[in-house]
């Protein structure tokens, strides 16, 4: 089964409408919870007024004073409150909650609550944040800083014949999972609470709630999750706390599901990033001699996962290119805006857009072909990355060669693709972009070896059940884990099942994040299956040549046999203070080719064709892996062109509706093809490597290069929407 295309196990339930997402689960006597949010970015909260003429008898009302434990959603630092007590730090910040027996009544009651505040000066521009007299976090508003030093950049710049500098900007992006955020809290018989809903990381919630509720009598259960992309990594913790507080005070089951406008307004987005690149280049050979990078990320008002996003941005910022002298510094700063957070790629798409655009700038200024410049500088096997990690395999070359071959076979003017056939007469210009990228999967450095993810496998009757804290949000984990176990045990997949994703029953396998689930947790699940074979042998006595299925048939004992495994560790050696060593267990590699037409009158981009060649180790279910590459690439094309989070004067997203936040439709998508290298990765289960985020890393830069190829227009900022393109076209024609 492993290594072959196979149908996902949750498919039949999903195509028949039987899969139960949170709002589909029938719950008797369910109350509805809603949130009262701030409408200003920075203020002193003076009071929360409830209309005395409204009937509050059937409403449960919760403020910060109702929190039994700490008023803090703990993740990296204890800075984010569950509910505002004194100081409002961003628009749409939760201040109070209410629940009622019906959604209509809850929404009506919310209209009868007024927040009184004394407005303060807000700090909204992240470039003004560091050291600003308006303090949001610590002494200087810097949540996190990460720095890499490699070689001697001072000497390299001092001797440089040619120095090229550039600035690049990447914007917010909304994950836009189709199922909005939702959590339900239900009283347990023992006085505790069961939290269930749409989430990526049940144990994040488990770890955050204890401090807030002041007790540990709760469990967290993931329900079928309709997309997440990072958006349901940290946010469900605060939503769970809200639902739990309403549940505790009312004694009722309370469901909170955001409408789309509230979801877009209040929840996390991709961090905007300003990047400055300064490089020393040999003008004759095109070789990179020194790279000096500074990245500045907008974290929003609270820290959340921002330090890790910053770190990943820094670690990828020099791109898949060899350079002997590198300095990279990244800083994550605070603003009075809703916190930004996890989103597929987690900092890497930001810095990879910048390095790829910078390479194109070098090519432009030194009259190199952009492809040739990449040929010259691309990593080779045995070379060192900026952290000193030695690359073990010639994989950058392999994926890049595939893109070159594809380009040769399919000239950009050929129309051998299937995409939207637009009959509108247009003045079009065709362009092609080709870029290359890398993505480290798993926790940074030796983080996985320290964390030691755990999972269980249980023989129960004739079937085997998998217990893990990792979840399926659409990427297919609930199919690939059973396939791993079935192949390891030699059982048909019909006899292998996922156990409930319930923290009361599963050990902590870490967050479903960082492209780590198949590569790291998959290895743990495989080890657990191997341990099960040993445990069964030990129980009933081994006989030669007997299969696991035969042993199961021979077993008399009917008690469930459950075993645990933990991540055995990998060879990564990492100095987290100096940022030296193996930044990840390994990198995965990708090249992207995009063909597009630019409408020279409207500035629209018509995506025609997108080719990706990727090293993702051995693909356990190639069809599913292709689906990740195709979906991730289109999400990145949306970021590059149509998805524009418009931030208003108060720091709020103004276009918080699907009518004006434009994600790609089937008409916008290019014809996509994916070339998978299938080269085994030694530490991954059956040779698999993490890949879920990598598809988001490169397409935006490829689009920018293709626009330049088509029109000569240089765009170094996202989104490269029709307005931006037309403005450049007009500016050029005025000059002429």
């Amino acid at each position: 089964m492993i290594g072959q295309d196979f149908q996902r196990l949750d498919g039949p339930a999903k195509v028949t409408g039987q899969a139960r997402y949170l709002d589909d689960i029938p719950i008797a006597n369910c109350w509805y919870g809603v949130t009262i949010r701030s409408s200003v970015p920075h203020a002193k909260l003076i009071g929360i007024d409830r209309d005395p003429d409204f009937d509050w008898s059937n409403i449960t009302f919760v403020t910060a004073d109702d929190i039994p434990g700490e008023n803090c959603v703990f993740l990296n630092t204890p800075d984010q409150p569950v509910l505002v007590k004194d100081e409002i730090r961003h628009v749409a910040e939760p201040v109070a909650l209410l629940a009622a027996p019906s959604r209509e009544l809850a929404l009506e009651a919310r209209k009868h609550v007024t927040l009184r505040y004394e407005e303060c000066e807000a700090l909204l521009d992240f470039e003004q944040s560091k050291g600003n007299q308006i303090k949001i976090f610590g002494d200087n508003n810097v949540f996190a800083k990460a720095e890499i030093r490699h070689g001697d950049i001072d000497a390299a710049f001092a001797n440089a014949e040619c120095i090229i500098e550039g600035d690049y900007y990447t914007s917010h992006q909304e994950q836009l999972y189709l199922e909005p955020q939702g959590i339900c809290a239900k009283p347990r018989e023992d006085g505790g609470i069961t939290i269930f809903g749409s989430m990526q990381c049940p144990y994040y919630i488990q770890n955050a709630l204890g401090r807030i509720l002041g007790h540990e009598r709760f469990n967290v259960v993931q329900t079928t999750t309709g997309g997440a992309f990072g958006g349901k990594e940290e946010y469900p913790s605060i939503l769970s706390a809200h639902a739990a507080l309403l549940c505790m005070k009312s004694g009722q089951t309370v469901k909170m599901i955001y409408r789309r406008d509230e979801d877009l307004l209040a929840t996390t987005k991709r961090h905007p990033c300003k990047a400055h690149y300064k490089t020393a280049v040999d003008p004759k050979t095109g070789k990179l001699l020194a790279i000096d990078v500074s990245l500045l990320f907008d974290a929003g008002a609270y820290n959340t996962l921002s330090p890790v996003v910053n770190s990943r941005g820094v670690l990828h910022a020099a791109g898949p290119y060899y350079c002997p002298n590198v300095h990279i510094i990244g800083e994550m700063v605070a603003t009075h805006t809703p916190p930004n957070g996890a989103f597929r790629g987690f900092g890497a798409p930001q810095s990879l857009f910048a390095i790829e655009r910078h390479l194109d700038r070098i090519a432009r200024e030194l009259h190199f072909d952009p492809i040739e410049l990449r040929n010259i500088n691309l990593f080779h096997q045995g070379q060192e990355t900026p952290t000193g990690q030695v690359l073990k395999a010639p994989l950058a070359e392999a994926v890049w060669k595939s893109a070159l071959d594809f380009a040769a076979e399919h000239p950009k003017d050929s129309d051998d693709f299937d995409c939207n056939a637009d009959d509108t007469p247009r003045r079009l210009a065709r362009g092609r972009g080709m870029v290359v990228g890398w993505h480290g999967a798993g926790f940074t450095g030796n983080g996985e070896s320290i964390f030691k993810a755990k999972s269980d496998v249980e023989l129960n009757g004739r079937d085997v059940y998998i217990f893990t804290g990792s979840i399926d949000m659409g990427q297919g984990l609930d199919s690939v884990f059973p396939a791993i176990v079935a192949d390891t045990l030699g059982l048909p997949i019909e006899r292998v099942h996922m156990g409930p994703h319930d923290t009361a029953q599963v050990p902590n396998s870490g967050p479903t994040a960082a492209s780590r689930s198949t590569m790291v947790v998959g290895a743990v699940v495989k080890k657990a299956a191997e341990n099960l074979i040993e445990a069964l042998k030990a129980e009933i006595g081994a006989s030669d040549g007997e299969t696991f299925a035969q042993m199961v048939d021979r077993r008399q004992n009917t008690a469930p046999l459950r075993v645990r495994a933990q991540y055995p560790g990998d060879s990564a050696v990492w100095d987290r203070d100096l940022y030296r060593g193996d930044a990840y267990p390994d990198y995965a590699w990708i090249s992207v080719l995009v063909d597009l037409d630019v409408d020279l009158d409207t500035g629209e981009i018509l995506f025609r064709r997108l080719f990706q060649s990727a090293d993702a180790g051995v693909c356990l279910n190639p069809q599913s892996v292709r689906g990740q590459f195709e979906g991730g690439a289109l999400q990145a094309l949306g970021w590059s062109h149509s998805e524009h989070v418009i931030v208003g004067q108060n720091g709020a997203m103004r276009n918080n509706h699907l009518t004006d936040y434009i994600i790609p439709t089937s008409l916008d998508a290019p014809d996509m093809s994916v070339d998978l290298k299938n080269i085994p990765f030694e530490s991954g289960p059956f040779g698999a490597k993490g890949m879920g985020e990598m598809p988001h890393d490169c397409p935006a830069a490829a689009v920018a290069q293709a626009i330049e190829d088509a029109t000569g227009i240089v765009l170094d900022e996202l989104p490269m929407n029709p307005e931006a393109i037309v403005a450049k076209l007009l500016a050029r024609s005025e000059k002429e």
Binding site: V15, Y177, T665
Partner: protein, 155 residues
Amino acid sequence: MRIQFELNGQPVEIDQPPMARLVDVLRIELGLTGTKEGCGEGECGACTVLMNGEAVNSCLLPICQVQGASITTIEGLGQMADHPMQKSFLEHGAVQCGFCTPGLILSSTAFLKENPNPTRAEIRRALAGNLCRCTGYQKIINAVYDEAFAKGEEK
């Protein structure tokens, strides 16, 4: 008001305020939760159902307009995943998180009834009202195209 209509081949009679949204009636009153709500403003298509064979957004449809109509939801297409379009989506890996899937399957089914021999470009146009954030649409378009082709062979 009293509303009578046909739902998945069965007559239904219910008492609802005339402006109640069809999506709420289906999901809350009738327990048919295969129809999803993704945006509530007719942009995402997750709430797509068939009305007299045509794909409509049930979040935009007041129940009074359903009087006398025939409505098909994903539950009416086949509970055994044996409808050809359901099978084609499964075979092609056109399902990921699945939230858009019922709507896309219904839109695709209605479209192929109208246009049994479509080009890929026509499929793209027909499905433009159904957003999917997971797949990039490639496998969905393949699923619909191959299903049309398979049907064509049977004829």
